[in-house]
Amino acid sequence: MSLLAPAATPSRARFSPMRIALYLVLILLAIFYLTPVFAIIITSLKTTAELARSTVWELPKTLALDSYSTAFTALAPSFFNSVFLVVPATILSATLGSLNGYVLSKWRFRGANLLFALLLFGMFIPYQSILIPLVQFLQGINLYGGIPGLILVHIVYGIPICTLIFRNYFATVPRELLEAARIDGASVIRIYRYIMLPISIPGFVVVMIWQFTSIWNEFLFAVTIAQTPTQQPITVALQNLAGSLAPEQNIQMAGALMAALPTLLIYILLGRYFVRGLLAGSLKG
């Protein structure tokens, strides 16, 4: 998968009207994609007085960090709620996915294909179709209302995608490696522990980045299940910020940046793995 590899060396003439036109289109498109970031940054650095219609797209005159401190005070608890949600949910769903991927690619039993298909379907369902019994179930086991319940939910509904990525990853491991280990007397579990697990670190990176981003950004489960105000993940808190606490746009934009920062940083630093998760392994054909 060389999607993010640099393209081959430029092959055409350096300055031609065609190339200038191409760059113009590329730049115009970049402006379209970057405008919201520009809006976030300039607005969040303004004082409330500067939010007037006439100066709304102008750069701030001074760098006012007030909206950041207000947004930080309001959102810091939910930011850490999200951290406490994302870390265990990511690790556990990745672990289950890794075991499933190992078995479904290397120790296929009768019905493994059907099982895999039924597992994958779980990744596409609209979660509205399980939401009512899910809430009842969580209420029944006293996990409704906060982060622990959300952790369970994200582990379970993360299984299909983690399994898919790991199954594709393990499928490329040569069979001879396992055969050799079998001859040496290694058990199914020992092969996993001493061969497959160590070589699947890149798979873990892809899966964990994917799960981190998805769970951090998730909203439907969060807004339905995290009813306790002190137990809200950041997506819910950001949405509530607009509704009640601080309706000023500069504070909302500072909050939006705070909510976006972790996943944005991951994208900037580890974009290659993010895209690999997005395309779920190598391409067909």
Binding site: L29, P36, S105, M123, I130, I159, T213, F274, S282
Partner: protein, 312 residues
Amino acid sequence: MATASAQRVVVERLPKSRSLRLPPWEKITPLLLVSPSVILIAVFVYGFIGATIRTSLVRWNSALPDYTFVGLHNYQRLFQLERFQADLVNTVHFTAIFLAGCIVLGLGTAVLLDQRLRGTLFFQNVYMYPLALSFVVTGTVWRWILNPNSGVNVILDNLHLGFLKSGWLTDTHTALNSLGIAAVWQMSGFCMAMFLAGLRGIPEELREAARVDGANEWQLFWRITFPLLRPITLSAVIILGHISLKIFDLVYVMTFGGPGYATDMPSLYMWVATFAQFLYSRGAAIAVVLLLMVAVLIVPYLVWNLRGETEQ
């Protein structure tokens, strides 16, 4: 979940040879390893879908469960409701603009980035970063940009393009399209990534051969490149189509279905009916309709992908 289901199912082909043989006492180990996941999925996906179907067939219309069987009555009522009829029309309308926007922009940017220009990597990263954001962040920002009093209308005024001004999200005629702009901004990068990977997989020799045969670049694209991208286009349509049917966060944040029912969607109405109006059976019925719509799209897609593998 902006990107959680933005997944293209690519199933790595397993070698044709059978699995390794295991002695009888070890045969159970693989089953034990997958059993926790199998049980969880069986209960949380299939068991819960069953429970939702059951809820849609009873008369549970208050905070207290009432399991009196009423057959398909809830569905009959649902399809007579003005709000749900509006939802269905909105879903089709939104899906059409969302798909068109993502594919045109995604294919366009992919072809541009495949021209081997310097700086391609930079532009590629810029076009794709919205995928890392949540729909809640996207909604918060675009709600501000599309605010008639403060956002893009001001720019249009300054450029003397006042005739292009619009009420955007506040006008019943433009609200759904405005929502579409934000959704396309967020997801077109996914389409681009798929097309770009497809384009880079087309051997240069193929295009070179066509050039030698006298094809111009335009013919080259429509006769060679585009037909080879057809399976990817189909995948993109199915994946983006099912995201569009499920769209919830963006609507919740930007319009909450308004003005009127102009941007209401089944996914949002299900949530409102269930958790705000306590019409559990109606909510369940909407959820089942939504699930069927998604299944019609996804089940053939899964079969197509998984069968492709066993044929090998």
